[in-house]
């Protein structure tokens, strides 16, 4: 039987990657990079699910990860479509330029 | 069945008017008129039945229908009619017909949807006057609100958006308080009897602690006081009345305000007699303050329509005084005044509408000397001005006199201050007469006299005002059983009537 990685390590890794992705979303202005950062955050959540699944010896965590993968694919396609529309309308990839909802 | 028809016919007629809107603007008007005529026939039938049944016991309803609606929650579709509702339903149809007529030339855009809204309001008002299930009542209460909002917002004058918001927010806030009270009553009754129901006759006489009764009463009361309007809740009224199209003002002043008075008579007094007794002196004070305040403000206005709007505040103060005085005489006065005010103020608003259609302003400064060019308009207008100052012989006099006569034994100080309103009403009414009809004719104003349609409308209203002023007994008798009951439940201030019946 393989020595198991302690759950805490896995979770800390997930949290770190999540935070990294989140900081990316906040500091990046280029919308493509923001999208990429969101992908990183999604993957961090995926890791957390797998770790949790391993901890309880259940397959649900891995199934959940597969869901996340498919959802990420869908999300990226929508996201990229939005990016193209944004560029088409504003001639820039700067997310801050799209602030017409300003109150 | 006849009650259901009464409400459904305007709803269907409204939809028909809406659908018929097209190139031909007159078709929706005729449909609306025809619809209301049909309702009028029904009302006349009801009067005929009523005349046959005057000897009915006071607590039985003349016509009643009840169907389960949402039985799980104790909600039923319960409509009923007694003398009081009959009077108000008749007033509704009467003013409904007149408001269709007075929009004949004033409204030229989106005629179909205008009449849709108009008829939906009327249906809502009829529902309010007829429902006996509190849930259903609340439903109709809100039903009349929304189309009225559209009527002001879409067909109103310059400042209509502001006015419509103000109207909506005020009445809606009041309505929500009432909803809370309805639910409170529902649960208190349910808790104590184990039988959850919204049915009014069953809720009557629910046992509750005095403080609960007071709070529930206040919820209802504020909703109705906003509509009436009572003094601190009146600011929506001048704006809404001024900005609404003529038909809207007529319905607002003639009917919507009356739903408040009706609510007080139908729900507040019978449901919470003790709480009413407790707050009566305060409310009478506010009523009297409203009489004086409205009259002074009416005097100071320069916009004729706004002036008329403030007179409503003053007159409804009399109604409130009568209701909370609680003697049969005062209550009868309030009922007469409800009808009288509906007709005279409606007529005055129509008059303002006619003037505005002709000279395109409501500013008193640009009027004057209409008597020379438009004698028919002026003489008829003068009559309504005089009615609004409560000249004996007109319906308003009967109302105001009976209210004050009945309120005097209950609270003479308030009555005396309220009588001051008689002087103040002369002050503002004669100001209208002077500034509009009398004075020198302005050369730059073309003021053609009334058309046949307009003359006919005004003549009908004049006949109504004088008829009630000279023969009020029909209305008094019709309302009597209901009001006698009310006096019993607001058991105070027994008038001296026991001493003898006069002559």
């Amino acid at each position: 039987m393989m020595a198991t990685v302690p759950m805490e390590h896995g979770l800390i890794l997930a949290a770190l990657i999540f935070a990294l992705g989140f900081v990316g979303v906040l500091v990046r202005r280029n919308i493509v990079f923001m999208l990429m950062s969101i992908e990183i955050m999604l993957n961090a959540v995926g890791i957390a699910f797998v770790v949790a699944g391993a901890r309880w010896g259940q397959p649900d965590g891995q199934i959940m990860f597969i869901f996340i993968l498919t959802m990420a694919a869908a999300e990226v396609s929508v996201g990229l479509a939005l990016v193209i529309q944004l560029y088409h309308n504003l001639k820039t990839l700067d997310a801050d330029a799209a602030n017409s909802m300003k109150g | 069945m006849i009650l259901l028809l009464l409400i459904i016919i305007p709803l269907i007629g409204g939809l028909a008017a809406w659908l018929s809107d097209g190139k031909n603007n007159t078709l929706p008007r005729w449909i609306a008129l025809g619809t209301l005529m049909l309702d009028l026939v029904l009302v006349l039938l009801l009067w005929k039945e009523h005349a046959a049944a005057v000897s009915l016991l006071p607590d039985t309803w003349l016509v009643e229908i009840q169907h389960a609606w949402i039985p799980q929650l104790g909600i039923s579709f319960h409509l009923a009619l007694d003398g009081l509702s009959l009077i108000l339903v008749s007033l509704t149809i009467f003013l409904g017909i007149l408001s269709v007529l007075c929009s004949w030339t004033e409204i030229s855009e989106r005629v179909g949807s205008f009449h849709l809204n108009l008829l939906f309001i009327l249906a809502g008002i009829l529902g309010v006057f007829l429902s006996l299930d509190l849930f259903l009542f609340y439903f109709f209460w809100e039903l009349m609100l929304v189309p009225m909002y559209f009527l002001i917002n879409l067909w109103g004058h310059e400042n209509r958006v502001y006015a419509s918001y103000k109207f909506f927010i005020f009445t809606q806030a009041g309505g929500l308080l009432m909803l809370l009270s309805i639910l409170g009553l529902y649960f208190i009754h349910g808790k104590s009897t184990g039988f959850y129901t919204f049915d009014y006759p069953l809720l009557l006489g629910t046992a509750m602690s005095p403080s609960a009764s007071l709070w529930l009463m206040l919820g209802f009361f504020i909703a109705f006081a906003v509509k009436l309007p009572m003094l601190p809740f009146q600011p929506w009224l001048p704006d809404a009345h001024t900005e609404a199209p003529t038909a809207g003002s007529v319905i607002l002043a003639g009917l919507l305000l009356k739903t408040g008075a009706y609510g007080l008579l139908r729900f507040v007094l019978p449901l919470f007699p003790d709480a009413v007794h407790m707050v009566a002196p305060i409310v009478m004070g506010l009523a009297v303050a409203g009489i004086v305040y409205g009259a002074v403000l009416a005097f100071s206005q320069t916009d004729l329509k706004r002036l008329v709007a403030y007179t409503s505040v003053s007159h409804m103060g009399f109604v409130l005084l009568g209701i909370f005085a609680g003697t049969t005489v005062a209550l009868s006065g309030a009922v007469i005044l409800i009808v009288a005010h509906g007709v005279t103020t409606g007529a005055l608003f129509m008059l303002v509408g006619m003037i505005q259609e002709r000279i395109h302003t409501r500013d008193l400064g640009s009027m004057g000397g209409f008597w020379t060019t438009a004698p028919r308009l002026s003489s008829m207008g003068l009559l309504f001005v005089l009615a609004s100052l409560g000249l004996p012989g007109t319906a308003n006099f009967i109302g105001e006199f009976l209210v004050l006569l009945g309120a005097f034994p209950v609270n003479s100080t308030m009555t005396v201050i309220g009588a001051l309103g008689l002087v103040l009403s002369a002050v503002y009414s004669l100001r209208i007469a002077q500034r509009v009809f009398h004075g020198t004719t302005r050369a730059d104003i073309r003021m053609p006299d009334l058309s046949v349609r307009e003359t006919g409308m005004m003549a009908i209203m004049i006949i109504a005002v004088l008829w009630i002023g000279l023969f009020p007994q029909t209305i008094l008798d019709t309302a009597k059983p209901v009001l006698n009951e009310l006096e019993c439940c607001s058991n105070h201030g027994e008038p001296i009537s026991a001493k003898g019946g006069g002559q």
Binding site: - | G406, A419, G502
Partner: protein, 628 residues
């Protein structure tokens, strides 16, 4: 015949309806026929009723038309009562009214509002008749307000001039103040006695109330408030002089002969209440005495011939109040009747004069009309003599003498009231003959612009005749002792205090006669013999100041202006924009400010929102962790 009683007020009302609905389309002749004819028929009916009434030994008769309202123990019906008091009123209203209507058919000949005028006049007569015939106070109130309305409409008859409108409004509002007091009186009476039926009310009042009981005092005082408003007595007298803005026949009918005496009628009708409230009754006498003097002095200084007559009317009604106040009920009614004759006559005569002098109202610009308008002069002179109570031959003498005698002899009267009346009598003859001398004597100043026709002269002659013979229906004990009038009234009023007939009465009569004649003589000296001296005297500084003060009616107008009108208008101006609404505006402002702050957080930047979500999550997680 009694069953046609309702026709007496109904006929003028019908005339009003015809004229109001179709007046524009009718010819002037038809309008005149309808207008005057309806009143004439009423007068005829009144005659027939009177004959029948006297034949039936003065039996009170009531006709009920329908129940007006009946609710919760209160009931009032539209019903009319005929008794001696209302019959006298009926007679004066219909008969004098008819004469004035005839006069008006010519007077208003060239007015564009011909049919409107007669419509209002008919409405007035109908309302006035309702007032006097009403068998309950509510119906009386209907007539009361109705005549007020007609007075308003007719004062402002020439509506194009805003000044007339202002005078009309003043009249209506001032009397309405009195009316409201009366209405409160009605509430009080009903609340305590349970009916408004007059006979029943008087009956119950005397049965249930002690003399001087607070309720009786309050009720009588409130009714008095109504009476002083309508009858232009202190302190509500200010409207009557301004009311002269209306056409002259209106002044004659409404503001001299009939409507303004409604207050007298009201007090006479409810005299039982006043006897129960001696303090209020004394107040009536004092008000009457004060008013008659005040108005008399004001009349002395007026230049406008109609304003002289207006103040004179106030003053003469003051006499009637004085009589009521000392319990001389039938003397008051007697004076009401004679006053109606001669004052209507004087107004009508003045109307002719004004018309003949190019609408000139200032007497001092007129003169010498004696030769130009002989019939008018002679009738006017007779009217003036009657007003000045010229002894023995005039009606005014007998009625005023009766009042003065009772002011002296009645238990509630006294020396001071009598002296006030006496001084008033002197002033009356002074200002009356001042008017006569200035207008009709001296040099002719303005050429005549018209001659009165038959329809104007005839009423003058009839009224002049009545101003003389009208007094012979009541001769004092010292002079023939023929108390026809008071015995006619005895069914309504309690017998007035027993006459201590004899030398005292004779003595007082002689004094009063001398005073009246000396007033005339004084006027003769001042305005015929030595007009130069009079002018010089009037121009002297203190006299001039006093003259101005009296001319303005003792400054009451400016006083009320400063006390009531101006404050009311400034309050109205201050609260014009509804301060309560401003309160709600405060809520709106607060919400707007709040929403401004919150909307600042909506930057539109997606990164800002993301950061917001993150911080929110951290905060909530932190709270959860700390709490757990």
């Amino acid at each position: 015949m009694h069953n046609y009683l309702f026709l007496i007020p109904a006929l003028p009302f019908a005339g009003f309806l015809i004229l109001a609905l179709a007046g524009r389309r009718l010819s002037k002749t038809t309008v005149a026929l309808v207008g005057a004819g309806s009143v004439g028929l009423s007068a005829l009916l009144t005659m027939i009723m009177a004959i029948e009434f006297i034949g039936s030994q003065g039996e009170t008769f009531t006709q009920t038309l329908w129940t007006w309202m009946k609710v919760g123990g209160f009931s009032a019906s539209i019903s009319f009562t005929l008794d001696a008091l209302s019959l006298v009123m009926l007679f004066v209203i219909t008969f004098v009214g008819f004469l004035i209507h005839i006069y008006s058919t010519e007077f208003m000949q060239n007015d564009e509002g011909y049919s409107r005028f007669f419509a209002y006049m008919n409405l007035f007569v109908g309302s006035m008749l309702t007032l006097v015939l009403a068998d309950n106070l509510l119906l009386l109130y209907l007539g009361w307000e109705g005549v007020g309305l007609c007075s308003y409409l007719l004062i402002g008859f020439w509506y194009k001039d805003p000044a007339n409108g202002a005078a009309a409004r003043k009249a209506f509002i001032v009397t309405r103040i009195g009316d409201t007091s009366m209405a409160i009186g009605l509430f009080l009476l009903y609340a305590n006695l349970g009916t408004l039926h007059i006979q029943e009310l008087m009956h119950r009042a005397s049965a249930e109330w002690q003399i001087g009981s607070p309720l009786a005092l309050a009720a009588a005082a409130l009714l008095l408030g109504g009476a002083v408003g309508k009858s232009a007595q202190l302190p509500l007298q200010t409207w009557l002089p301004d009311a002269m803005a209306g056409p002259t026949p209106v002044s004659a009918l409404i503001h001299a002969a009939t409507m303004v005496t409604a207050g007298v009628y009201l007090i006479a009708r409810t005299h039982v209440l006043f006897t129960l409230a001696p303090i209020v009754q004394t107040a009536v006498a004092v008000i009457g005495a004060a008013t008659l003097l005040l108005a008399g002095f004001s009349a002395l200084t007026q230049k406008d011939i109609k304003r002289v007559l207006a103040y004179s009317t106030i003053s003469q009604i003051g006499y009637m109040f004085l009589a009521l106040g000392v319990g001389a009920w039938s003397a008051a009614m007697f004076h009401f009747m004679t006053h109606a004759f001669f004052k209507a006559l004087l107004f009508l005569g003045a109307g002719v004069v004004i018309l003949a002098q190019h609408e000139e109202h200032d007497m001092f610009k007129m003169g010498g009309l004696r030769k130009r308008l002989p019939i008018v002069f002679w009738t006017f002179l007779l009217g003036s003599a009657s007003l000045s109570a010229l002894p023995l031959v005039t009606a005014g003498f007998y009625s005023k003498d009766l009042i003065l005698w009772q002011a002296w002899s009645s238990p509630t009267g006294g020396l001071w009231l009598w002296l006030a009346g006496l001084l008033g009598a002197f002033i009356t003859s002074l200002y009356t003959f001042r008017m006569v001398f200035v207008t009709f004597f001296g040099k002719e100043k303005i050429a005549l612009s018209m001659k009165p026709g038959r329809r104007m002269v005839l009423p003058l002659i009839v009224l002049a005749l009545l101003s003389i013979v009208g007094g012979f229906v009541e001769l004092p004990e010292t002079l023939g002792n023929l108390p026809l009038f008071s015995s006619f009234m005895s069914g309504v009023f309690p017998a007035s205090s027993e006459h201590a007939a004899g030398t005292m009465e004779q003595l007082l009569q002689i004094v009063a006669s001398l005073v009246a004649v000396s007033g005339i003589g004084f006027a003769y000296i001042l305005y015929i013999r030595k007009p130069a001296f009079t002018e010089k005297f009037a121009a002297a500084r203190p006299v001039e100041a006093l003259r101005r003060f009296w001319l303005s009616g003792w400054g009451f107008d400016s006083l009320y202006d400063a006390l009531f009108v101006k404050p009311f208008i400034s309050i109205a101006r201050i609260i014009k924009h509804d301060p309560i609404d401003s309160g709600y505006d405060g809520i709106v402002t607060m919400n707007t400010a709040l929403h401004r702050v919150l909307s600042k957080t909506q930057t539109g930047s997606i990164r800002w929102y993301a950061a917001g979500i993150a911080i929110g999550v951290v905060v909530f997680l932190g709270i959860v962790i700390i709490l757990s």
